[in-house]
Amino acid sequence: MELRQRFGEDAAIYAGGTEILLAMKLGVARWPHLIDVKPIASLGEISATKDTLRIGATATHWTIERHALVARVLPALTRLEANVANVRVRAAGTLAGNLAFAEPHADPPALLIALGARVVLEGSAGSRSLPVAELITGMYETAIAADEIIVAIEIPLPAQDARATYVKFQILERPSVGVAAVATVRDGRFVGAPTMVVGAVDEMARSVPTVQFAGADARDARTREALAEAARAAVEPTADLAGSVDYKRHLVGVFAQRAVASLLAQAS
């Protein structure tokens, strides 16, 4: 913390290096100092209470993917982590680093936002907790102050009968479209409104307005198409090598439907 305060914006917090070393090699960013946080053992811990999963800032995708506790309490996160980038990036990269870098084509933000996850930040003014939805403010932009570091991610566990899912489409090393959904489905119907967040397609993850789907029949094709339409309307896709605006918006609808299908499959 002392180093963070001394160097401020002249230093970057360094753990896996999968994003910042890449950016530094490409010459798009440079810092005179990197502060390696991996030696701080307590930052690597993963633990859970009965309603919250806490993942330390230096826990790698590799570790999270293999963690028995995570698999038991939040299997959707295990599946997501097992499919981040490639095995080498997972071996080195951290979940907290992924959030802090705020690369728009990322998997974790959509699911974490859908689950209402928060990050714990520590800085010279003390500790604060911020929803992931407010942490990422734009492409490569976050609300992390120059004297702050992420120390942990706290994820509220879904209620006993709620299910979470993350489905994505990916042809290159980063996702083109990712859709996260969290809902309780009973006898094929949503109990309350489902939560849906679309990631990787826009400058940042976008929540889909779903209030009107409270109690809706998730098996009904019309419900699913209406949800897909709401998801398509919630995003402004960025055109890139992975596809045009229209193509990506189409994919958002397809994967919104698949997310609902995944929730139904888990509920049965």
Partner: protein
Amino acid sequence: MGRREIHLRLNGRDRRALVEDQVLLIELVRSLGLVGTKLSCDMQVCGACTVLLDGRPVSSCTTLAIEADGKPVETIEGLADGTKLHPLQEAFIDHFAFQCGYCTPGMIVSAKALLDEHPAPDAAEVRHWMEGNICRCTGYQTIVDAVLDAADQLRSVS
């Protein structure tokens, strides 16, 4: 820039190296004469530069050499036992699992990490693990066959 002495266990041998902070692991191992590790995309996508750091596969093109301080590092040169090739190397030959050969060291090192953790993977597990290693010659099927065959060989000798 700082310069420091690091101690690593490289392919089973203790090595000492004086490195500047910004030196990458691939630069270090190649400067020590281990040129089997190849640089290709230089951005963690292709897998040609894969080495095992503390048993885990990493892209040595985007890993600082100082990360290896106090840790074991295994490169493609560490697999064979003298002139006796590792079963993965034999299987890649038997299955014609390479053509130009540039991706092969990374493929084999990555596959070794898989088999160290999962001695009996199925084809889908092999494909999932290896999807971050890119080959422009083979079409991959022979690589998957070679890894599965090597897994069988390794299990039968152990």
